[in-house]
């Protein structure tokens, strides 16, 4: 759970420096949001598809689309009726007009959202959470901020286990339902509330212990800290910087298509 959506691998995308990948992710998302032509958007998306294919596998190309298809369907259905520019292509029931402009807008939004989703998917599929936090540190996130996020990640599985245990304990105290279970949201709410109270109290009770642990490890002192994990020095990734500039030029070039 803590690994997020990371998929271990040995591809060049996995090996690429996370700072480069993160910068490219931001630039790619900006490029996809800018009002560019459908051809440029399609080229951005196609480049991402090729990167996912090369870095992961062909099957992984469709993975991000699986999670967003209901929204893509919604865009396809709802966008054309609200954009009435251009030649009329089709009319539904005499009042909903599908025009060329509406269809074009729907295609732009679908490619844009698929592209943004795929860009984030590729980044987090090939970058560990540790490297992501180190990247954020390199970009200026304070040490205490990175520490908070790291500790939070460390606590999520423990809290999940705690939640499951308390949930089971509360379920054991309830009578076993006879026959087929009926869908009943209010009953579900009333069952979950005591579990939430217990989970919250147990979690908050852990705060003093965690603070004592941080204190005893010298948190809050001003002397320099060493770190177990670190990113490569920039001079060791010059070849990646060259590649980064080429990709950047590709993104800029497409803007003027």
């Amino acid at each position: 759970m803590v690994s997020g959506t990371y998929l271990p691998g040995n591809s060049f995308v996995h090996k690429a420096d996370p700072r480069m990948k993160f910068s490219l992710l931001i630039l790619w998302v900006i490029a996809l949001i800018l009002p560019v032509s459908i051809a440029a958007l399609a080229a951005y998306y196609l480049a991402l598809v090729l990167l996912i294919w090369a870095g992961l596998s062909l099957g992984q190309v469709f993975q991000p689309l699986k999670t967003i298809w209901p929204l893509l369907l919604m865009i396809a259905l709802l966008t054309p009726p609200f954009h009435q520019s251009g030649r009329e292509l089709y009319q539904v029931g005499g009042f909903i007009r599908i025009t060329e402009g509406g269809l074009q807008e729907a295609i732009i939004l679908i490619v844009r959202f698929s592209g943004i989703t795929s860009a984030f998917f590729l980044f987090f599929r090939t970058t560990t959470i540790d490297d992501f936090i180190l990247t954020l540190r390199w970009f200026g996130l304070p040490y205490s901020g990175a520490l908070v996020v790291t500790i939070a990640f460390r606590y999520i599985p423990s809290l999940l286990q705690l939640y499951r245990n308390i949930e089971d304990a509360h379920a054991l105290r309830r009578p076993v339902p006879e026959g087929r279970r009926k869908f009943h949201p209010i009953k579900k709410f009333s069952h979950i509330f005591p579990t939430l109270v217990s989970v919250m109290i147990h979690s908050i009770k852990g705060i003093p212990t965690l603070s004592m642990a941080l204190e005893s490890r010298g948190f809050g002192r001003h002397n320099p800290r060493t770190s177990y994990r670190s990113l490569l020095p920039l001079k060791e990734i010059v070849h990646q910087a060259v590649l980064f500039i080429i990709v950047l030029l590709f993104l800029v070039l497409l803007l003027f298509m």
């Binding site: 966008t79 844009r112 996020v149 500790i151």
Partner: protein
């Protein structure tokens, strides 16, 4: 040392770090894991807003801003919806801040009116500030929280998927906030009552 009631201990940076980390983990858990089906057709609401209301009521606006934003964004990362994480951070963080600010303002107004009444009747000592927010504060917090969260999601969603598709998310966002206020407020009161040391956990 009884760390539960030692006020200087609560002011340590380590204590703040620990509080934020645990509340972020709780918010991520409530968002990612605890989901209640509301329709037989796989429609569900998550409890992220419950954690945000809880934090805003007990710990105040700044803590709610950080834990609401980071906790829900982490849940998005873990669930594979990373493309929404920056917007979630903004929407839920500002939602927590808005809720906390309204509730704190309500409490301050309550204290001021109490002081006025006590000075009229000649009483010296102040009665403690109640942690339970008033109905008006809660309703205002709910309205403002919904507007902030729903508004940010609508604007950023409109940019990514178009305003027509983004508008379909509005009822879900309102429902999330309804669950937040309906479950988050009693949860805060129940924890406040069942675990008294929590009243020393604010800064």
């Amino acid at each position: 040392m009884d760390t539960n009631k030692n006020e200087s201990f609560m002011q340590l940076p380590a204590f703040r770090i620990a509080t934020l980390a645990i509340l972020i983990a709780v918010t991520a858990l409530f968002t990612y894991v605890i989901r209640i089906p509301i329709a037989p057709t796989r429609g569900y609401i998550n409890f992220g807003d419950v954690a945000i209301f809880f934090t805003a009521i007990i710990f105040g606006p700044i803590t709610a801003l950080i834990t609401g934003g980071v906790g829900t964004a982490l849940a998005d990362l873990l669930a594979g919806y990373a493309q929404w994480a920056p917007f979630t951070f903004l929407a839920h963080g500002l939602q927590g801040l808005a809720i906390g600010l309204v509730i704190n303002t309500g409490r301050k107004l309550h204290v001021t009116s109490q002081q006025r009444n006590q000075s009229k009747s000649g009483q010296e000592e102040l009665t403690p500030v109640p942690r339970k927010p008033g109905i008006v504060s809660l309703l205002l917090a709910f309205v403002l929280g919904t507007l902030v969260m729903g508004g940010i999601y609508f604007l950023t969603g409109g940019l990514m998927v178009g305003f027509a598709a983004a508008a379909t998310e509005i009822p879900g966002n309102i429902l999330q906030n309804v669950a937040g206020i309906l479950v988050g407020t009693p949860l805060a009161m129940a924890v406040w009552k069942a675990y008294p040391p929590i009243r020393y956990y604010t800064w």
